[in-house]
Amino acid sequence: MVTTFFWGFAGMAVLAALLCVTRKSPVASALWLVMTMFSLAAIYVLLDAQFIAVIQILVYAGAIMVLFLFVIMLLNLGQARQTDIRGWFGRGVAVLLGGGIALQLFVLARVVGAEGFGSQTAGYPLPAGALGRVQEAQGAIGMVADPLFRQYLVPFEVTSVLLLAAIVGAVVLAKRKI
């Protein structure tokens, strides 16, 4: 049952991602990206990570993509444009990059486990239903918050400093006269 749903949503995610990069109209692309994010959220739910799923929708689909749309509309980029991938050179680069990523995935799959991702040799083996039990004990948020603010506190804070630097940088770039 879960596997069936997984393949359904995974297929949907891949298809939506493909449509996202192939659509000519930026608005359509953005909407297909939203679709991809939804499918990813569904996969998170299948993995018992409801909090991550709902944050995925809230932050990415609900806030960031709306901002994307906002910018697309403000800049009047709504109409279809010619694609950037032009001529033999462009196509060559595209194939090379795509092939590189595919190869990477392939190698990753080999390294992680010969039998596939579900096997015991996978990177982070968890007994079946382990996440569900943790969630039962700590709630959907505690499950994420606890390791985030205890075990991984320093990386978390470093990330927030990084984001702050990015915000300051954006303000400096956008506003010549402060």
Partner: protein, 409 residues
């Protein structure tokens, strides 16, 4: 199929069906409340011809909208233009799924003639989906409602609609922040995002309107913006943008916009009632909190009374939405942004810090989660609210534009 699975399916389908029908009827009723309420506030009578007290007026209007001609502008993006009403309609109805609407009923073990045995263990929670993510689900899906509005504005290829859509997206993102941050306080107090737990905690201590008053204020103001109601109805702003984002829609596709707006209005009212006014909790009694283990008249009465309490609270907030609509004028866009980013956001941030400290101190002191806990939190809130009201009154928090604007010559 096992009897347990059948019982689960029965309960789930009954709840989904019941809630969907109740919400659809509720939307019609709310439109009636809005129209008759507006009339009351304006010394009029309002629609009173179709059906008893004019209750069927909206059915008549719905029928009219069904048989009207649908117009799609020539230069519109056809697919998105058709899609946008759905994108606005679906989240509005999905959001209600996580709100509990009554005390749980006991489980059952019945055998029906043809269908066989149905078994459901334990109390049946009166909520369509008691998700572990609770109110985050509502926030997530209310943030999706903006797609319907924004895309409607863009797809119509009309400048008024586009301006409405732009305003909607900027406004809803801005106020989501204030709403989300005020919910952090609720999370701090209840320790859980599941709405069932939030209600249970309020029953043990006190309603969060007393324990987290400023969070309630921020949330309620944000709710006006999220539902695009006056005084924040800038996406529609019929005086300046014709009708804003749905200016180009006609017939049923137009009707879907008010429909989903009112569905969101009901959900927001129910959400406020649940988060800050104890949901289906009946005040001053512990009787409603007992969980029935077997079917009895008492269990049914408890279900009915708690459901009534929930409906009354929800109705009160719907009425407040209508009431405010005919009292306050529409804000200017810069005032809207000023209020969202420079008042509500810092206010809720400061409030989180204060409340977190209070909660931490109370936990350290070992105060149990009873009425006493609520009383302490209330005592913390009183000076804060007094200070806020004093500041508002003395124009420390909000001030006229004259003070802020310096015209550069």
């Amino acid at each position: 199929m096992s009897p347990e699975l059948k019982g689960l399916l029965l309960v789930a389908s009954l709840k989904v069906l019941g809630l969907f029908v109740a919400l659809l009827v509720g939307v019609i009723m709310v439109v009636w409340v809005e129209r008759r309420g507006s009339a009351l506030l304006q010394d009029r009578l309002g629609p009173n011809r179709v059906g008893p007290l004019g209750l069927l007026q909206n059915v008549a209007d719905g029928l009219k909208n069904f048989i009207k001609e649908e117009v799609v502008p020539h230069e519109a993006d056809k697919i998105l233009f058709q899609l946008a009403p759905l994108l606005s309609f679906i989240p509005a109805f999905l959001m209600f799924a996580v709100i509990p609407y009554a005390a749980p009923l006991p489980g059952f073990d019945i055998t029906l003639p043809v269908l066989g045995r149905f078994v459901y263990e334990g109390p049946v929670a009166m909520v369509v989906a008691d998700l572990p993510v609770g109110f985050l689900f509502i926030i997530a899906f209310s943030s999706l409602a903006v797609y319907g509005i924004t895309l409607a504005g863009w797809a119509a290829n009309s400048k008024y609609a586009l301006l409405g859509g732009l305003r909607a997206s900027a406004q809803m993102i801005s106020y989501e922040l204030a709403i989300g941050l005020s919910l952090v306080v609720v999370l701090l107090l209840a320790g859980n995002v599941s709405l069932g737990e939030v209600i249970a905690f309020q029953q043990r201590t006190t309603w969060f309107v007393f324990a987290a008053t400023i969070a309630y204020m921020t949330f309620h103001i944000g709710a006006f913006a999220e539902t695009n109601r006056l005084p924040f109805d800038l996406p529609e702003a019929e005086a300046e943008l014709v009708a804003g984002y749905h200016a180009e829609y006609s017939a049923m596709k137009y009707a879907i916009y008010p429909l989903s707006e009112y569905a969101a209005l009901i959900t927001m009212s129910a959400f406020i009632a649940t988060l800050f006014f104890g949901g289906w909790d009946i005040p001053f009694t512990r009787w409603d909190e007992q969980v029935a283990t077997a079917w009895s008249a008492e269990a049914v009465v408890r279900f009915a009374l708690t459901n009534l309490a929930f409906l009354l609270k929800t109705f009160f907030f719907i009425w407040v939405f209508v009431w405010v609509r005919w009292t306050l004028p529409r804000f200017r866009y810069d005032q809207l942004m000023f209020l969202g980013w420079k008042v509500l956001l810092p206010l809720s941030l400061v409030y989180i810090v204060i409340m977190a400290t209070a909660v931490l101190l109370l936990e350290r002191a070992g105060v149990p989660h009873t009425g006493r806990y609520g009383l302490w939190l209330f005592l913390v809130n009183v000076p804060l609210v007094v200070a806020l009201v004093w500041g508002l009154d003395r124009r420390r928090v909000l001030a006229g534009t004259v003070r802020r604007v310096r015209v550069e010559a």
